[in-house]
Subunit: 351 residues, 2 copies
DNA sequence: CATATATTGGAAAGCGCTTTCCTAACGACT
DNA sequence: AGTCGTTAGGAAAGCGCTTTCCAATATATG
């Protein structure tokens, strides 16, 4: 029912071809007076080009698909924000899917479903930012390779099992190691790791980085506790750990050995660390004197937190921007990488 | 270059029409053996329907457009999350746009640009969640009415200047009033309002609600300070207010009059409140003994904050879900409303 | 002034689907 | 056996654009 190009053409007294050339960037530009007539006709009728039809005719859609795990998670929303910025540069619209929200089918299928939807809409590119699962679905890999062979571009945040995809490497491992090293340099010797779910790639790699950092200092973690990749996951894991220590007095005697600096909790991300801090507070353990905490990501919203969270800062928005640039520019590099910086703050005893 | 339906049909030895009927929900279902042949041909060739072509033929796209202000803001990302959930139910894909990110053109044009893009893609519906500007762009209203007349559905969060749009009313005003009433009931008498930017509708309405609540208690705010709708905005506004009070001793004598309970800062949203708390902490004012703070929204990430923030809880995800349902179900009600609840916590002296 | 060369607008052929309309086949019924 | 009502597959006409190819006109060249 919307007005179509043929009506505009008729209204302006020109052919379809001419109207098309005037209104949509063509290599051929009709004469100025004709162009003017067409433009005002379009304006007058309130013409808006049908992008679907254009996509069909041009065989390029101006769409970019972004799949995240949970858009409500500040980690992903920051990335999404970066993607939007880059998408605007190339006048792309972003199609968003979240793998945390499952319809029918198994939870693991959400990513496949999202990717298939994007492929169906013939997005020019797909950005996979959902922290990938460990055992990648072969159907996903197959669908994506086919998509790439058909001219689609795929970029993944972190390594993936799709050989043809462009990958934006994130210094999760190195960052985790660097964070531990910085903490060790502060005199901390005893660590507990809140590892998140072990099937999540990102979490696993960070934990490996933590362990590697510890090993380099000839240290071993007091414990490695798994849990959900959420605030509640951090809370529960912390409670679990504290309970394993006995009652409060016993716990304190372990955590705060006079001879050494307190135990430091290494969380696989900031949100987990946040949950951990809440748990500690509820046990009336004070940070950083009784126990210390470090996170990962440096989520913007948490920068106002008190005590300020020691963490490894990842340039989340830039990651999104970079990924989108790699995805949207056909000539972009096939791979890129981002690193972050250790940010020492109060939660780990920094003044 | 992707495989198309005609190839599948040929591979299965049937006509285009039959293949279409088998693979895409048609009212007519071909015989079982034929269907099987088509399906396995599709599977074998890795056929994925071209949604653009389907959209063109069916004149419905399966797309829903969501325009937010800043997807990195937890308020909007929570809403987006809700929208995603509802969109999955109707198998819609969500197209996301943010008005905080501006290309060329004036910043105010971002919303118009987003809406025009969505109209161009012929989204089945558009959800306007960006906290609307006070002076709505007439071009926006025009574009949207035309869109609605052409069969599109529009739902706005909060009132809008588009008479044909469905509106999901949010109890910003009532919530703000209720929050103040609850605070007054706690014995608080002196309030400072951090109003956010005055051109933002949401902020303005909330401030009106605050003022209304105060008036009902025969009170007036000590001050109303405007600023950005961000953490930094809250920080700056708070610093500005504190500076107006003189040095720390003078400030303290004002804030914490022995005869009365401390001054309470009413922020137009949680993020502003967060910034305010950071500012207070940097001035070594303790919450809630020296000064108190209340926010608005009850952002999930902030629930782990200490001191816990008194606020008005809005069911953000549900709002998104509801808005999307109103948008996606043609037969849905033309309007709906959501209210929240006052949540008294430590930051305003609640035990 | 005639011919070769750009330019410019228009007709029409797709782009990959859906869906109406048609025809053929089949079974049921008298 | 003949007729009618069903059902099922296929041909073809769009959906709203872009773009190639043509024809016609305008410009440049000898």
């Amino acid at each position: 029912m919307p007005v179509k190009l043929s009506e505009v053409a008729q209204h302006a007294g020109v052919s379809l071809a001419t109207a098309s050339r005037v209104l949509n960037g063509s290599s051929r530009t009709p004469a100025a007076d004709i162009a003017e007539r067409v433009k005002s006709a379009a304006e007058e009728l309130g013409y808006v080009a049908n992008a679907q039809a254009q996509a069909l005719a041009r065989s390029t859609t101006g769409l970019v698909g972004l799949v995240v795990h949970d858009i409500a998670d500040p980690y992903f929303s920051a990335i999404a924000h970066g993607v939007q910025q880059a998408a605007l540069q190339t006048r792309h619209q972003v199609l968003l899917a979240g793998t945390d929200i499952v319809g029918d089918g198994s939870p693991g299928d959400a990513e496949l479903a999202a990717v298939n939807a994007f492929i169906s809409y013939r997005t020019d590119a797909i950005i996979l930012a959902a922290s990938r699962l460990l055992d990648e679905d072969p159907r996903l890999a197959k669908a994506l390779s086919q998509y790439i062979n058909n001219g689609g571009r795929v970029v993944t945040l972190g390594p993936s099992a799709i050989p043809e995809a462009r990958v934006l490497t994130v210094a999760n491992r190195e960052g985790a190691t660097a964070l531990v090293a910085a903490l060790v340099a502060q005199g901390i010797k005893r660590f507990v790791i809140l590892a998140g779910p072990h099937e999540r790639n990102t979490a696993r790699v960070r934990v490996e980085g933590f362990l590697h950092g510890l090993a380099e200092a000839n240290l071993e973690p007091l414990a490695v506790v798994h849990g959900a990749f959420t605030s509640k996951g951090g809370y529960d894991a912390t409670v679990e750990y504290l309970n394993s220590l006995g009652d409060k007095a016993q716990a304190l005697s372990v955590l705060k050995d006079d001879a050494e600096s307190p135990v430091c909790i290494l969380a696989a991300n900031d949100v987990i660390a946040l949950g951990a801090m809440t748990a500690l507070r509820s046990r009336e353990l004070s940070i950083p004197t009784d126990i210390q905490v470090a996170g990962f990501d440096d989520i913007p919203t948490l920068r106002d937190h008190s005590p300020a969270l020691t963490t490894y800062r990842l340039p989340l928005e830039d990651m999104g921007k970079l990924a989108a640039e790699m995805a949207l520019n056909p000539a972009a590099k096939q791979s890129g990488s981002v690193t972050g910086t250790v940010v020492l703050r109060e939660s780990a005893g920094h003044q």
